[in-house]
Symmetry: C2
Subunit: 388 residues, 2 copies
């Protein structure tokens, strides 16, 4: 029995190699994929034919090419194949987003609603219903990524703590898999990390940055040398709990003067004397002094925290995401001033501040992206299904 198992292992590995080569250079011919992977043209052709059957790959037009030889047709990931489903459990909303292998969003769905008022099991019931809704779409779902506003332990996938939801020790993956009877990968991650991943793939294009998302909580995703930095246990990027005013207000996390308590969306809205973010934006556009002062104040605390991150990590770029992206025109100047004062290397390595160009669904899309990567990393089940 060992020989067939081994052949299967080899095919599984080769499938992933070939699909990765097509994903990395869309439009490649079979010959180019063979050259890139080191596999024979016959092996590549055979696998590509099966992948076309499995709707993982589509053929485009034949490429015109100078010189003799057969013209290769251009290979692309298929928009009609398995999709990745991204889910976000926000503090004040649930969202889903169905993304095809090429990264295009097919549908997205959002429902506002305060999840702090409900127990985890009730929220997960609503999450399961949202996933069922997406499962009714006329596409195959090859993986589910779930973004949560808290500490997700990488070794176990368990959500250890979500201070702003009041959740502790919730096995989101296990619960959803059990409730839905899912047989595809379910991957749970920190929302700020997933938003940073989306920024890395579809956003600013810089290889080294910190992406800070301002919502009710504040989280950061740190990208170093083109890769998300997750830390030893997956708990990195908790910028919202940097003590920017060590004797300041208490935080549900147990500390005092956390950035989140001084520059979170709720605090800015409260200090501005308005009801919500849209009202705040209206007031800012009307040059309302209280609103402007509230945002300036938040920018200063944000500058204290981000200067700490830059002093530690020598990061050249800060990307403002979530609510901060929308507040960027008013945050920018006071934030840059604070960074200029507090970053010790600012004169030689000035920090660039960018507003994320991605919509507020970066975390949901980042979650879908992890599901898509899981499909691309192991396409063999789809190929096997075609063979059967």
């Amino acid at each position: 029995m060992s020989r067939p198992a081994s052949q299967h292992t080899v095919r599984r590995h080769n499938c992933a190699l070939v699909l990765d080569a097509i994903a990395a250079a869309p439009g490649s011919s079979r010959a180019t994929v063979a050259a890139r992977t080191g596999l024979t043209k016959a092996t590549v052709s055979s696998l590509v034919d099966r992948m076309i059957g499995a709707r993982l790959v589509v053929e485009g037009e034949a490429q015109s090419r100078p010189g003799p030889g057969r013209r290769g047709t251009a290979l692309h990931l298929s928009p009609a194949g398995p999709h990745g489903l991204g889910v976000e459990i926000g503090v004040d909303h649930l969202a889903t987003c169905l993304v095809d292998l090429t990264g295009r969003v097919r549908t997205s769905w959002l429902r506002p609603g305060d999840n702090r008022a409900s127990r985890p099991s009730r929220v997960l019931t609503r999450v399961a219903a949202a996933i069922r809704l997406a499962l009714k779409e006329d596409v195959a779902i090859g993986g589910v990524g779930v973004a949560v506003p808290g500490l997700v332990e990488s070794a176990t996938g368990i959500l250890r703590l979500a201070p702003n939801l009041g959740w502790r020790e919730v096995d989101v993956r296990g619960e959803l898999t059990r409730r839905l009877g899912l047989d595809v990968p379910v991957l749970v991650g920190n929302e700020a990390n997933l938003a940073a991943l989306d920024e890395l793939r579809h956003g600013c294009g810089a290889p080294d940055f910190v992406h800070v998302s301002g919502e009710i909580g504040i989280g950061a995703g740190i990208v170093l040398n083109g890769e998300l930095f997750e830390g030893v246990s997956g708990f990195s990027g908790e910028i919202g709990h940097l003590s920017v005013d060590p004797r300041g207000p208490r935080c549900p996390c147990g500390s005092r003067g956390c950035l989140e308590r001084l520059a979170g969306q709720d605090e800015i809205v409260r200090a501005a004397g308005v009801e919500d973010l849209p009202t705040l934006l209206t007031a800012l556009k009307a040059n309302d002094r209280t609103a402007t002062a509230a945002v300036h104040d938040a920018a200063k605390w944000l500058g204290v925290a981000l200067s700490g991150a830059v002093n530690l990590l020598d990061l050249p770029t800060v990307v403002l995401g979530g609510a901060y992206a929308r507040l960027e025109p008013w945050l920018r100047e006071p934030l840059l001033a604070e960074l200029g004062r507090r970053v010790v290397s600012a004169a030689w390595s000035p920090v660039h501040v960018l507003a994320s160009t991605l919509a507020s669904d970066a975390a949901t899309r980042g979650a879908a992206g992890t599901a898509i990567r899981a499909i691309l990393a192991d396409p063999d089940p789809y190929v096997t299904a075609v063979l059967a």
Copy 2:
């Protein structure tokens, strides 16, 4: 002319490969080195013989080995070959340290003296004199590493800023090379980064930690996955300039409430009402209340800064170096309490606090280590000298 140049390039590469294999597994035989490097036994034997002639490598006893075949002799880096010279330009001292290829310290030299009182050129004159003293030792010096308390730009090697020395834009490497007519590599690095490198090689053995050295300045070296993290420009680890009390006392760096101003050695000694570190240690051992309170206060500020680093980077270990290593018995409890309160993942990923077991010359030894790595990375000049 292209063929001999190419042959030389190949030999240069192979020399480094072979020496690296011996450094990584001391006691290896020629056959083991051949297997490890993928070179033929003949090539390895020829290079090893030349390296023995160049005093880079020594042969130990023949290894006993079961089975037939010639017994291989054990190869080691030679303690009689080129040495690395480490130099530290401290705020209140100069130090040098001569280390052989095996990492053993041959001699070390220290002269206290406040370098803040002198212009850079005068201090560099004293540094050059210290290096000349080391050059008089009866060993070859294959490289010089210089540790400085400031921002060293990795691309240029220029010391951009040393706030506690009051230095800006000093080309330490160029100045020393010119004054001494050195024809060996001169490598300038941040003292905290170099101390962390020494900790990585000869200290705690952990793959992920932050090493924080308390001196007049406070610096950190961040080690991730077994490698020093230097940042895009080499400016990482500036924990001394984290704003732990944003409205606190002014810092020469231009910011306010920097950790250095609240928990640096000078500040602790002043708050304790004593003259210097030895007097402080005597007072602490005598349970002096003012001294104990001063160290507790510093521990709290240090805890604010280190909890920020851990919240951002999810680091499992903090190593206390420099003066902090000697103060550790009094720093430990209040620091752990502060980390427990302020690190949001503390319940799942508790932070370990260790006192560095290395002496206060970790930066000097780390600087010597970079010089040794430069020799090991390009041993060809020594081998060529033997051939000539």
